[in-house]
Symmetry: C2
Subunit: 233 residues, 2 copies
Protein backbone atom coordinates (compact mmCIF):
# COMPACT_ATOMS: atom_id res chain seq x y z
CA UNK A 1 0.00 0.00 0.00
CA UNK A 2 1.32 3.42 -0.91
CA UNK A 3 0.67 6.04 1.73
CA UNK A 4 2.37 9.07 0.20
CA UNK A 5 2.92 10.09 -3.41
CA UNK A 6 6.09 8.99 -5.22
CA UNK A 7 7.82 12.37 -5.29
CA UNK A 8 7.60 12.46 -1.50
CA UNK A 9 8.54 8.82 -1.21
CA UNK A 10 11.86 9.13 -2.99
CA UNK A 11 12.77 12.15 -0.90
CA UNK A 12 11.74 10.65 2.41
CA UNK A 13 12.67 7.04 1.58
CA UNK A 14 9.42 5.91 3.15
CA UNK A 15 7.64 3.30 1.05
CA UNK A 16 7.70 2.35 -2.60
CA UNK A 17 5.57 -0.28 -4.25
CA UNK A 18 7.12 -1.94 -7.27
CA UNK A 19 5.72 -4.18 -9.99
CA UNK A 20 8.12 -6.43 -11.89
CA UNK A 21 6.86 -8.00 -15.10
CA UNK A 22 9.07 -10.96 -15.90
CA UNK A 23 12.20 -11.26 -13.80
CA UNK A 24 11.78 -15.00 -13.39
CA UNK A 25 15.43 -15.53 -12.45
CA UNK A 26 14.91 -13.60 -9.20
CA UNK A 27 17.74 -11.12 -9.74
CA UNK A 28 15.60 -7.99 -9.99
CA UNK A 29 13.60 -9.03 -6.91
CA UNK A 30 16.86 -9.66 -5.01
CA UNK A 31 18.16 -6.16 -5.83
CA UNK A 32 14.87 -4.32 -5.23
CA UNK A 33 14.32 -5.86 -1.81
CA UNK A 34 17.73 -4.63 -0.61
CA UNK A 35 16.33 -1.08 -0.59
CA UNK A 36 14.77 0.04 2.68
CA UNK A 37 12.41 2.33 0.73
CA UNK A 38 10.88 -0.61 -1.14
CA UNK A 39 7.92 -1.85 0.86
CA UNK A 40 6.51 -4.41 -1.52
CA UNK A 41 7.54 -6.04 -4.78
CA UNK A 42 4.81 -7.66 -6.86
CA UNK A 43 6.39 -9.92 -9.48
CA UNK A 44 4.47 -11.47 -12.36
CA UNK A 45 6.39 -14.11 -14.32
CA UNK A 46 4.84 -16.17 -17.10
CA UNK A 47 7.14 -19.17 -16.80
CA UNK A 48 6.87 -21.08 -13.53
CA UNK A 49 9.61 -23.48 -14.57
CA UNK A 50 12.14 -20.64 -14.88
CA UNK A 51 11.44 -19.63 -11.28
CA UNK A 52 11.85 -23.19 -9.99
CA UNK A 53 14.98 -23.79 -12.08
CA UNK A 54 16.63 -20.60 -10.79
CA UNK A 55 15.71 -21.34 -7.18
CA UNK A 56 17.30 -24.78 -7.54
CA UNK A 57 20.22 -24.20 -9.89
CA UNK A 58 21.04 -20.46 -9.58
CA UNK A 59 20.31 -19.82 -5.89
CA UNK A 60 22.43 -16.62 -5.98
CA UNK A 61 19.60 -15.10 -8.02
CA UNK A 62 16.73 -17.38 -7.11
CA UNK A 63 17.10 -16.26 -3.48
CA UNK A 64 15.20 -13.13 -4.56
CA UNK A 65 11.98 -15.15 -4.31
CA UNK A 66 12.38 -15.90 -0.63
CA UNK A 67 12.24 -12.27 0.50
CA UNK A 68 9.11 -11.52 2.58
CA UNK A 69 8.59 -8.23 0.68
CA UNK A 70 7.80 -10.25 -2.46
CA UNK A 71 4.34 -11.21 -3.72
CA UNK A 72 4.58 -13.65 -6.62
CA UNK A 73 2.07 -14.14 -9.41
CA UNK A 74 2.58 -16.57 -12.24
CA UNK A 75 0.92 -15.67 -15.51
CA UNK A 76 0.96 -13.27 -18.44
CA UNK A 77 2.36 -9.91 -17.26
CA UNK A 78 0.56 -7.90 -19.93
CA UNK A 79 -2.76 -9.46 -18.88
CA UNK A 80 -1.99 -8.92 -15.19
CA UNK A 81 -1.41 -5.25 -15.91
CA UNK A 82 -4.72 -4.95 -17.76
CA UNK A 83 -6.65 -6.56 -14.95
CA UNK A 84 -5.03 -5.36 -11.75
CA UNK A 85 -6.63 -2.54 -9.81
CA UNK A 86 -3.42 -1.76 -7.90
CA UNK A 87 -1.15 1.18 -8.64
CA UNK A 88 2.63 1.18 -8.43
CA UNK A 89 5.39 3.74 -7.91
CA UNK A 90 7.79 1.84 -10.14
CA UNK A 91 7.12 -0.73 -12.87
CA UNK A 92 10.05 -2.75 -14.15
CA UNK A 93 9.84 -5.00 -17.18
CA UNK A 94 12.54 -7.66 -17.16
CA UNK A 95 11.51 -9.61 -20.23
CA UNK A 96 13.24 -11.84 -22.72
CA UNK A 97 13.64 -10.60 -26.31
CA UNK A 98 10.43 -10.08 -28.35
CA UNK A 99 11.69 -12.44 -31.05
CA UNK A 100 13.06 -15.96 -30.84
CA UNK A 101 15.00 -18.09 -33.32
CA UNK A 102 12.99 -19.83 -36.02
CA UNK A 103 13.91 -22.24 -38.76
CA UNK A 104 11.71 -20.40 -41.30
CA UNK A 105 12.83 -17.92 -43.95
CA UNK A 106 13.07 -14.92 -41.62
CA UNK A 107 15.20 -16.78 -39.07
CA UNK A 108 13.13 -15.31 -36.21
CA UNK A 109 9.52 -15.26 -35.06
CA UNK A 110 7.55 -13.57 -32.28
CA UNK A 111 8.43 -14.98 -28.85
CA UNK A 112 6.33 -15.13 -25.66
CA UNK A 113 7.55 -11.65 -24.62
CA UNK A 114 6.37 -9.86 -27.79
CA UNK A 115 3.36 -8.39 -25.94
CA UNK A 116 5.79 -6.49 -23.65
CA UNK A 117 7.27 -4.46 -26.52
CA UNK A 118 4.37 -2.45 -27.91
CA UNK A 119 2.42 0.77 -27.46
CA UNK A 120 -0.53 -0.89 -25.69
CA UNK A 121 1.70 -2.37 -23.04
CA UNK A 122 3.38 0.97 -22.31
CA UNK A 123 -0.05 2.65 -22.13
CA UNK A 124 -1.27 -0.01 -19.70
CA UNK A 125 1.82 0.52 -17.56
CA UNK A 126 1.19 4.26 -17.47
CA UNK A 127 -2.36 3.66 -16.29
CA UNK A 128 -1.11 1.57 -13.39
CA UNK A 129 1.47 4.13 -12.21
CA UNK A 130 0.98 6.34 -9.19
CA UNK A 131 1.35 10.07 -9.75
CA UNK A 132 5.06 10.72 -10.27
CA UNK A 133 5.76 7.05 -10.95
CA UNK A 134 8.46 5.72 -13.25
CA UNK A 135 9.08 2.80 -15.60
CA UNK A 136 12.24 0.91 -16.38
CA UNK A 137 11.88 -1.60 -19.21
CA UNK A 138 14.14 -4.04 -20.99
CA UNK A 139 15.66 -1.92 -23.75
CA UNK A 140 17.51 -4.50 -25.84
CA UNK A 141 20.96 -3.86 -27.28
CA UNK A 142 21.95 -0.72 -29.16
CA UNK A 143 24.36 -2.58 -31.46
CA UNK A 144 21.83 -5.17 -32.55
CA UNK A 145 18.36 -3.69 -32.04
CA UNK A 146 18.62 0.05 -32.74
CA UNK A 147 15.53 0.01 -35.00
CA UNK A 148 13.30 -1.57 -32.33
CA UNK A 149 14.71 0.75 -29.64
CA UNK A 150 13.98 3.84 -31.74
CA UNK A 151 10.39 2.66 -32.34
CA UNK A 152 9.85 2.00 -28.62
CA UNK A 153 11.38 5.29 -27.49
CA UNK A 154 9.37 7.30 -30.03
CA UNK A 155 6.22 5.51 -28.88
CA UNK A 156 7.01 6.31 -25.25
CA UNK A 157 7.49 9.99 -26.08
CA UNK A 158 3.83 10.09 -27.10
CA UNK A 159 2.79 8.77 -23.67
CA UNK A 160 5.33 10.15 -21.15
CA UNK A 161 6.79 13.66 -20.70
CA UNK A 162 10.25 12.24 -19.85
CA UNK A 163 11.80 9.34 -21.76
CA UNK A 164 15.46 8.29 -21.57
CA UNK A 165 17.57 5.48 -22.91
CA UNK A 166 20.36 4.04 -20.76
CA UNK A 167 22.50 0.90 -20.81
CA UNK A 168 24.89 -1.17 -18.80
CA UNK A 169 27.41 -3.95 -19.37
CA UNK A 170 26.28 -7.46 -18.64
CA UNK A 171 28.60 -10.21 -19.81
CA UNK A 172 25.92 -12.87 -20.16
CA UNK A 173 23.53 -10.88 -22.34
CA UNK A 174 23.69 -10.76 -26.14
CA UNK A 175 26.71 -8.67 -27.18
CA UNK A 176 27.53 -7.96 -23.52
CA UNK A 177 25.17 -5.04 -23.04
CA UNK A 178 21.57 -4.43 -22.04
CA UNK A 179 19.60 -1.24 -22.49
CA UNK A 180 16.85 0.33 -20.40
CA UNK A 181 13.91 2.41 -21.56
CA UNK A 182 13.05 4.75 -18.71
CA UNK A 183 9.92 6.86 -18.56
CA UNK A 184 8.70 9.30 -15.92
CA UNK A 185 5.25 10.76 -15.44
CA UNK A 186 6.66 13.84 -13.69
CA UNK A 187 7.96 16.24 -16.37
CA UNK A 188 10.57 17.65 -13.97
CA UNK A 189 12.18 14.30 -13.18
CA UNK A 190 15.83 13.98 -14.19
CA UNK A 191 16.27 10.25 -14.57
CA UNK A 192 20.03 10.43 -15.15
CA UNK A 193 20.63 11.89 -11.70
CA UNK A 194 20.22 9.47 -8.76
CA UNK A 195 17.54 10.63 -6.31
CA UNK A 196 19.49 9.07 -3.48
CA UNK A 197 23.28 8.70 -3.26
CA UNK A 198 24.45 6.15 -0.73
CA UNK A 199 27.70 6.56 1.13
CA UNK A 200 30.12 3.63 1.38
CA UNK A 201 28.72 2.40 4.68
CA UNK A 202 25.12 2.44 3.47
CA UNK A 203 26.06 0.74 0.18
CA UNK A 204 27.93 -1.97 2.11
CA UNK A 205 24.98 -2.50 4.47
CA UNK A 206 22.69 -2.93 1.47
CA UNK A 207 25.19 -5.31 -0.16
CA UNK A 208 25.53 -3.27 -3.36
CA UNK A 209 28.39 -4.72 -5.41
CA UNK A 210 27.83 -3.01 -8.75
CA UNK A 211 25.54 0.01 -8.49
CA UNK A 212 26.77 3.42 -7.36
CA UNK A 213 25.91 7.01 -8.28
CA UNK A 214 28.72 7.30 -10.88
CA UNK A 215 27.61 4.12 -12.62
CA UNK A 216 24.03 5.45 -12.59
CA UNK A 217 25.02 8.67 -14.37
CA UNK A 218 27.37 6.88 -16.78
CA UNK A 219 24.53 4.60 -17.93
CA UNK A 220 22.99 7.60 -19.70
CA UNK A 221 26.15 8.61 -21.61
CA UNK A 222 25.21 7.38 -25.06
CA UNK A 223 27.59 6.88 -27.97
CA UNK A 224 27.08 9.50 -30.67
CA UNK A 225 25.45 7.05 -33.12
CA UNK A 226 22.80 6.16 -30.53
CA UNK A 227 22.10 9.79 -29.55
CA UNK A 228 21.61 10.51 -33.24
CA UNK A 229 19.17 7.61 -33.62
CA UNK A 230 17.15 8.92 -30.67
CA UNK A 231 17.29 12.65 -31.32
CA UNK A 232 13.97 14.41 -31.10
CA UNK A 233 14.34 16.97 -33.92
CA UNK B 1 58.81 14.87 -34.90
CA UNK B 2 57.57 16.55 -31.77
CA UNK B 3 58.21 20.26 -31.68
CA UNK B 4 56.56 21.24 -28.39
CA UNK B 5 56.01 19.35 -25.18
CA UNK B 6 52.85 17.27 -24.74
CA UNK B 7 51.14 19.54 -22.22
CA UNK B 8 51.36 22.34 -24.78
CA UNK B 9 50.41 20.05 -27.61
CA UNK B 10 47.11 18.99 -26.15
CA UNK B 11 46.21 22.57 -25.39
CA UNK B 12 47.26 23.93 -28.76
CA UNK B 13 46.33 20.85 -30.77
CA UNK B 14 49.54 21.22 -32.74
CA UNK B 15 51.31 17.89 -33.23
CA UNK B 16 51.21 14.60 -31.41
CA UNK B 17 53.32 11.58 -32.20
CA UNK B 18 51.75 8.26 -31.32
CA UNK B 19 53.11 4.73 -31.08
CA UNK B 20 50.70 1.84 -31.41
CA UNK B 21 51.95 -1.58 -30.34
CA UNK B 22 49.71 -4.19 -31.91
CA UNK B 23 46.58 -2.85 -33.59
CA UNK B 24 47.00 -5.14 -36.60
CA UNK B 25 43.35 -4.80 -37.61
CA UNK B 26 43.88 -1.13 -38.47
CA UNK B 27 41.05 0.21 -36.27
CA UNK B 28 43.22 2.18 -33.83
CA UNK B 29 45.21 3.68 -36.71
CA UNK B 30 41.98 4.65 -38.46
CA UNK B 31 40.69 6.46 -35.36
CA UNK B 32 43.99 8.16 -34.45
CA UNK B 33 44.54 9.57 -37.91
CA UNK B 34 41.14 11.31 -37.82
CA UNK B 35 42.56 13.74 -35.27
CA UNK B 36 44.15 16.89 -36.73
CA UNK B 37 46.52 17.03 -33.73
CA UNK B 38 48.03 13.64 -34.57
CA UNK B 39 50.97 14.23 -36.87
CA UNK B 40 52.37 10.72 -37.07
CA UNK B 41 51.31 7.24 -36.01
CA UNK B 42 54.02 4.61 -35.76
CA UNK B 43 52.43 1.17 -35.61
CA UNK B 44 54.33 -2.00 -34.74
CA UNK B 45 52.39 -5.23 -35.32
CA UNK B 46 53.92 -8.67 -34.91
CA UNK B 47 51.60 -10.50 -37.30
CA UNK B 48 51.87 -9.44 -40.92
CA UNK B 49 49.10 -11.82 -41.95
CA UNK B 50 46.59 -10.09 -39.67
CA UNK B 51 47.31 -6.80 -41.41
CA UNK B 52 46.88 -8.29 -44.87
CA UNK B 53 43.75 -10.21 -43.88
CA UNK B 54 42.11 -7.07 -42.44
CA UNK B 55 43.04 -4.96 -45.46
CA UNK B 56 41.42 -7.58 -47.71
CA UNK B 57 38.50 -8.86 -45.67
CA UNK B 58 37.71 -6.08 -43.17
CA UNK B 59 38.44 -2.95 -45.23
CA UNK B 60 36.36 -0.81 -42.85
CA UNK B 61 39.19 -1.26 -40.33
CA UNK B 62 42.08 -2.20 -42.65
CA UNK B 63 41.70 1.24 -44.31
CA UNK B 64 43.63 2.58 -41.31
CA UNK B 65 46.83 1.34 -42.94
CA UNK B 66 46.44 3.50 -46.03
CA UNK B 67 46.61 6.84 -44.17
CA UNK B 68 49.74 8.84 -45.06
CA UNK B 69 50.27 9.72 -41.36
CA UNK B 70 51.05 6.04 -40.66
CA UNK B 71 54.50 4.45 -40.51
CA UNK B 72 54.23 0.66 -40.29
CA UNK B 73 56.73 -1.72 -38.72
CA UNK B 74 56.18 -5.44 -38.55
CA UNK B 75 57.85 -7.21 -35.65
CA UNK B 76 57.79 -7.66 -31.88
CA UNK B 77 56.42 -4.50 -30.26
CA UNK B 78 58.22 -5.06 -26.95
CA UNK B 79 61.54 -5.41 -28.81
CA UNK B 80 60.78 -2.35 -30.96
CA UNK B 81 60.24 -0.33 -27.81
CA UNK B 82 63.52 -1.50 -26.31
CA UNK B 83 65.48 -0.58 -29.42
CA UNK B 84 63.87 2.59 -30.75
CA UNK B 85 65.49 5.94 -30.04
CA UNK B 86 62.29 7.86 -30.78
CA UNK B 87 60.03 9.35 -28.14
CA UNK B 88 56.25 9.54 -28.26
CA UNK B 89 53.51 11.69 -26.76
CA UNK B 90 51.11 8.79 -26.60
CA UNK B 91 51.73 5.03 -26.59
CA UNK B 92 48.78 2.73 -27.18
CA UNK B 93 48.97 -1.02 -26.72
CA UNK B 94 46.26 -2.82 -28.67
CA UNK B 95 47.26 -6.40 -27.97
CA UNK B 96 45.53 -9.73 -27.87
CA UNK B 97 45.13 -11.48 -24.50
CA UNK B 98 48.32 -12.63 -22.73
CA UNK B 99 47.05 -16.20 -22.59
CA UNK B 100 45.64 -18.47 -25.28
CA UNK B 101 43.70 -21.73 -25.13
CA UNK B 102 45.68 -24.88 -24.54
CA UNK B 103 44.74 -28.53 -24.38
CA UNK B 104 46.92 -29.11 -21.30
CA UNK B 105 45.78 -29.34 -17.69
CA UNK B 106 45.60 -25.57 -17.10
CA UNK B 107 43.47 -24.98 -20.20
CA UNK B 108 45.56 -21.91 -21.11
CA UNK B 109 49.18 -21.06 -21.88
CA UNK B 110 51.17 -17.88 -22.58
CA UNK B 111 50.27 -16.37 -25.96
CA UNK B 112 52.37 -14.16 -28.26
CA UNK B 113 51.19 -11.01 -26.44
CA UNK B 114 52.38 -12.09 -22.97
CA UNK B 115 55.39 -9.74 -23.18
CA UNK B 116 52.98 -6.76 -23.36
CA UNK B 117 51.52 -7.47 -19.92
CA UNK B 118 54.42 -7.09 -17.50
CA UNK B 119 56.39 -4.56 -15.48
CA UNK B 120 59.35 -4.42 -17.90
CA UNK B 121 57.10 -3.52 -20.80
CA UNK B 122 55.45 -0.69 -18.88
CA UNK B 123 58.88 0.60 -17.79
CA UNK B 124 60.10 0.52 -21.40
CA UNK B 125 57.03 2.46 -22.47
CA UNK B 126 57.67 5.09 -19.82
CA UNK B 127 61.23 5.51 -21.07
CA UNK B 128 59.98 6.19 -24.60
CA UNK B 129 57.42 8.82 -23.53
CA UNK B 130 57.93 12.53 -24.01
CA UNK B 131 57.57 14.69 -20.91
CA UNK B 132 53.86 14.79 -20.07
CA UNK B 133 53.12 11.77 -22.27
CA UNK B 134 50.41 9.19 -21.65
CA UNK B 135 49.78 5.49 -22.15
CA UNK B 136 46.60 3.63 -22.98
CA UNK B 137 46.95 -0.14 -22.84
CA UNK B 138 44.67 -3.12 -23.40
CA UNK B 139 43.15 -3.64 -19.97
CA UNK B 140 41.27 -6.92 -20.38
CA UNK B 141 37.82 -7.51 -18.92
CA UNK B 142 36.85 -6.71 -15.35
CA UNK B 143 34.43 -9.64 -15.11
CA UNK B 144 36.94 -12.23 -16.26
CA UNK B 145 40.41 -10.87 -15.53
CA UNK B 146 40.18 -8.79 -12.33
CA UNK B 147 43.25 -10.46 -10.83
CA UNK B 148 45.49 -9.65 -13.80
CA UNK B 149 44.10 -6.09 -13.98
CA UNK B 150 44.84 -5.48 -10.29
CA UNK B 151 48.41 -6.76 -10.74
CA UNK B 152 48.97 -4.52 -13.78
CA UNK B 153 47.45 -1.42 -12.15
CA UNK B 154 49.47 -1.89 -8.95
CA UNK B 155 52.62 -2.30 -11.04
CA UNK B 156 51.84 0.87 -12.98
CA UNK B 157 51.37 2.83 -9.74
CA UNK B 158 55.03 2.13 -8.97
CA UNK B 159 56.08 3.71 -12.28
CA UNK B 160 53.56 6.49 -13.01
CA UNK B 161 52.11 9.23 -10.78
CA UNK B 162 48.65 8.91 -12.37
CA UNK B 163 47.06 5.52 -13.17
CA UNK B 164 43.41 4.97 -14.05
CA UNK B 165 41.28 2.07 -15.19
CA UNK B 166 38.49 2.65 -17.69
CA UNK B 167 36.32 0.48 -19.92
CA UNK B 168 33.93 0.52 -22.81
CA UNK B 169 31.40 -1.80 -24.42
CA UNK B 170 32.51 -3.68 -27.47
CA UNK B 171 30.18 -6.42 -28.64
CA UNK B 172 32.84 -8.52 -30.35
CA UNK B 173 35.24 -8.75 -27.41
CA UNK B 174 35.06 -11.42 -24.70
CA UNK B 175 32.05 -10.71 -22.46
CA UNK B 176 31.25 -7.57 -24.47
CA UNK B 177 33.61 -5.22 -22.68
CA UNK B 178 37.23 -4.09 -22.94
CA UNK B 179 39.21 -2.22 -20.31
CA UNK B 180 41.98 0.33 -20.62
CA UNK B 181 44.92 0.92 -18.32
CA UNK B 182 45.80 4.59 -18.59
CA UNK B 183 48.96 6.14 -17.17
CA UNK B 184 50.19 9.72 -17.22
CA UNK B 185 53.66 11.06 -16.48
CA UNK B 186 52.27 14.46 -15.46
CA UNK B 187 50.97 14.17 -11.87
CA UNK B 188 48.38 16.89 -12.52
CA UNK B 189 46.74 15.17 -15.47
CA UNK B 190 43.09 14.24 -15.00
CA UNK B 191 42.63 11.41 -17.45
CA UNK B 192 38.88 11.13 -16.89
CA UNK B 193 38.28 14.64 -18.22
CA UNK B 194 38.68 15.11 -21.99
CA UNK B 195 41.37 17.66 -22.84
CA UNK B 196 39.43 18.64 -25.93
CA UNK B 197 35.64 18.58 -26.34
CA UNK B 198 34.45 18.68 -29.93
CA UNK B 199 31.22 20.31 -30.91
CA UNK B 200 28.77 18.49 -33.21
CA UNK B 201 30.19 20.03 -36.38
CA UNK B 202 33.77 19.15 -35.50
CA UNK B 203 32.83 15.60 -34.49
CA UNK B 204 30.95 15.15 -37.76
CA UNK B 205 33.90 16.48 -39.77
CA UNK B 206 36.18 14.01 -38.02
CA UNK B 207 33.67 11.20 -38.62
CA UNK B 208 33.34 10.27 -34.93
CA UNK B 209 30.45 7.82 -34.58
CA UNK B 210 31.01 6.55 -31.03
CA UNK B 211 33.32 8.81 -29.03
CA UNK B 212 32.12 11.99 -27.34
CA UNK B 213 32.99 13.79 -24.10
CA UNK B 214 30.18 12.12 -22.10
CA UNK B 215 31.26 8.65 -23.20
CA UNK B 216 34.85 9.56 -22.26
CA UNK B 217 33.88 10.49 -18.70
CA UNK B 218 31.51 7.52 -18.35
CA UNK B 219 34.33 5.10 -19.21
CA UNK B 220 35.88 5.89 -15.82
CA UNK B 221 32.73 5.21 -13.76
CA UNK B 222 33.65 1.85 -12.27
CA UNK B 223 31.26 -0.59 -10.64
CA UNK B 224 31.78 -0.75 -6.88
CA UNK B 225 33.39 -4.21 -6.98
CA UNK B 226 36.04 -2.97 -9.42
CA UNK B 227 36.76 0.24 -7.45
CA UNK B 228 37.25 -1.93 -4.40
CA UNK B 229 39.66 -4.22 -6.25
CA UNK B 230 41.70 -1.20 -7.34
CA UNK B 231 41.58 0.91 -4.19
CA UNK B 232 44.93 2.26 -3.07
CA UNK B 233 44.54 2.00 0.72
Amino acid sequence: MVVVKYSDVVMLMVVVMVLVVGGGDGGVARELTRHPAVEEVVLCEIDEEVIEACKTHVPSMGCGFSNPKLTLHTGDGAKFLEETQEKFDVIITDASDPVVADEGEEGTKDGPAVSLFNHNYYTDMKNRLEEGGILCCQGENMWLDAKLIVTLVRGCRKIFPVVEYAYTCTPTYTAGQIGFILCATNPDMKLNEPVRVWDQREAAEMGLKYYNADVHRAAFALPTFMSQHLRTD
